[in-house]
Symmetry: C2
Subunit: 436 residues, 2 copies
């Protein structure tokens, strides 16, 4: 086996890590002291602090506030080279990753940590009308739609059209859906107050739609019920028990009823990134790679999968697709690679669940720390401190805290900018770009 | 005349203001106490603090930091209605402004203050290869090109290709060109230090190209010479006396010599916005409307033009296209409209020139206050304070100051985010958007 030969020759092992999210970045950092040559490949130039992405989408933060350039984060780690590229193929037999630039990266060990994308459960046509939230570009597109909707409502001459622009539906009652709905209600009721002359933004309807029986289903039932009450207090209508059966440009259908709504946001389905498919490994129904206990791919001990792309069951329950799990998996893969290099077998991964928290809106959140539950103001303060603590980079922390303090006092959102001009101009620019 | 009838009937005069820049916004505010019904039309939802736009382009500030939502700025002024729309026509005989939505706005008084756009002196094909800097979208595009260029240089296998990616040419030695060049040199020499493994970013060549004999030609000669020395100290090569004769995807031609350069930025030509043409009024060579002494259009006393779109000569010199002149013109038009409503004739506009300042880079600037000249650190500190003072909104001031303090100490840039992924993906998204 070539790994043994590498070891005998004391050659530095080549590690390729695909994805600079929590799993990939934590693995990279954990290998800082090892005799390895790491290439970290990402199609974005930044690590994204996804837990605050909804705040970019709702104009509370600027996109760069929650992004840290990967090169900068890793500048003092000499065994890493960062490459901005898209992966187009993985050749398992040649142990080689193919990039869109035409270049190829040979590896002795590979970590695939390319995360998740949206899934529309077979309704791909819905994507154009109900954008999801995974990247900064997604967030800016959602921000554009939300801010533009109020503008269109103000300009509308037909009252029914204005109502359709003021109907915001969020599909999916998980943490992202809850955050978006709570913040949207605050924008409509407080942020935009007095700014319009023909419409009253507070008239906007914010509806959170969850097909299951309760929101935040990963939390204990009492907290789901509490979250629902907090949402309703903020002005959100919570509709549980029925799935959306159709989405198009005019609105959506719920429980057989067609609703006119110009803004539908998708926070329901998550599927593995397409790189899972490139691996030619067994996957679960969502396309996530079924990994062995050490997070390696069955039959390929030199390939690991971590983060949202990995499917693993522990004590009969799936390891959740959350940031702490991704970080733990990334760090584990670093230990597993180091063990293999030493000629030892890799240890099994064990997820440590420290708790679960979700924010709902101003002074509203739920926290579940291994059974210690709290809600409301206390939970909100805990959520805020935890997120500032985990945000990468001193500057980002400072800016985010300043923004939050200002938003709290003023009810304002600091990033209310619609990029691009009117839609016809955007379409023209897009066409020019394609042909240029 | 209908204005007299309006006055007799004591009807509220309808004022339409096109453009929420310095001229339009200052006019709107100055009419706050008057009995007028103002409609402010802009194709963007924000007022843009253009003097700091180059900092967004060079990743020092986030786009929302220098933008203030027009609705929010004007929320407490009940005689204003803000409309997000593009103007498609001006019907002078019907006194009506046509919008892209199909709606029309009737006016008794009209201010056209739609500013300027880039001009490529008849070489429109250059636009695709040498973007200019007027809007936030322009700034994000330039930021994307600058950051991507270093990434491409790192990935290049051919040294000549890497050199082409590391050659940055800025065409035009006015304030914007000088700012871009100075900041780019700082990014290459300081910000990116230690972040790349194959290239040395400090090797990047930053060339500022000015067809005339000196940079900052609106300043006294001694300050131009000083600015040149400050630029050279920062690492910028200043090339004066020759125009660029060709720009394409591979580079540019200067003084008969073809230079391989993947990043060319345009800071040379400015033309009036196309709305000048819609007015059917006499214009100067740059397309700016030749206005009467009271800033009205000859033969149309109810139509005013202000800001970069207005062409006016005072004491034998053109009034410059700078923010203070635009603000003064905007406020003047408000006084002129108020005078006309009272049945009086409008006063003549008089530009008061308080001075001229330009920043060059870290600790480098030039200031000319009616003959009181200073340069270097003092000028830089003066520039900084003046710009924070004039920035709209308490939050923006706080965020910008925090960012600057952090950038000064760390040599870092806070907004180093490339939106969108690799170019093929961008093109695909653009195509999807066009067809969707």
């Amino acid at each position: 086996m070539s790994l043994d030969r590498d070891k005998r020759e004391n050659r530095i092992a080549r590690v390729v890590i695909i994805g600079g999210g929590f799993a990939g970045l934590w693995c990279t950092r954990a290998l800082a002291k090892d005799r390895v040559a790491i290439t970290l490949v990402d199609r974005c130039n930044h690590h994204l602090f996804q837990p605050l992405l909804y705040q970019v989408a709702t104009a509370g933060l600027s996109a760069p506030d929650i992004a840290a350039p990967l090169r900068h984060v890793l500048r003092r780690q000499p065994n890493v080279s960062v490459q901005l590229a898209e992966v187009t193929g993985i050749d398992r037999s040649a142990r080689r990753v193919l990039l869109d630039s035409g270049a190829a990266l040979d590896y002795d060990y590979l970590l695939v940590a390319s995360g998740a994308a949206h899934a529309y459960f077979g309704h791909d046509a819905w994507a154009a009308h109900a954008p999801g939230l995974k990247t900064l570009d997604d967030a800016l597109e959602i921000r554009r739609r939300i801010l533009t909707a109020f503008e269109r409502a103000e300009a509308a001459t037909d009252p029914a059209e204005a109502d359709a622009w003021l109907h915001f539906a969020i599909v999916g009652g998980g943490p992202t859906g809850v955050e978006l709905a709570g913040t949207l209600a605050e924008i409509a009721r407080h942020t935009l107050r007095r700014e319009f002359r023909r419409i009253d933004p507070a008239r906007a309807k914010v509806r959170l739609i969850e097909a299951g029986s309760r929101v935040l289903s990963s939390f204990p039932e009492s907290l789901s019920e509490n979250a629902r009450r907090q949402l309703e207090r903020l002005g959100v209508e919570v509709a549980t028990g029925n799935p959306v059966s159709m989405i198009d440009a005019s609105g959506y259908v719920l429980a057989g009823q067609a609703v006119a709504a110009k803004t539908v946001l998708w926070a329901a389905g998550v599927a593995a990134s397409r790189l899972g498919g490139l691996l030619a490994a067994p996957t679960d129904r969502a396309g996530r790679v079924l990994v062995d206990a050490d997070l390696s791919v069955p039959g390929a001990p030199e390939i690991f999968v971590a983060g949202d792309l990995a499917s693993l069951t522990q004590d009969g329950k799936p390891v959740p697709a959350v940031a702490p799990a991704a970080k733990q998996m990334g760090a584990h893969v670093a230990r597993a690679i180091a063990a293999r290099i030493r000629g030892e077998s890799a240890p099994s991964f064990r997820y440590r669940d420290y708790g679960n928290l979700a924010t709902i809106g101003r002074l509203a959140a739920v926290v579940d720390l291994r059974g210690l539950k709290f809600t409301g103001v206390m939970a909100w303060a805990f959520w805020l401190l935890a997120h500032v603590f985990f945000l990468i980079g001193f500057r980002n922390r400072m800016i985010v805290l300043t923004n939050w303090a200002w938003s709290y006092v003023s009810y304002q959102r600091g990033a209310r900018v619609i990029f691009g001009a009117s839609e016809p101009r955007r379409a023209k620019q897009a066409a020019d770009e394609t042909s240029g």
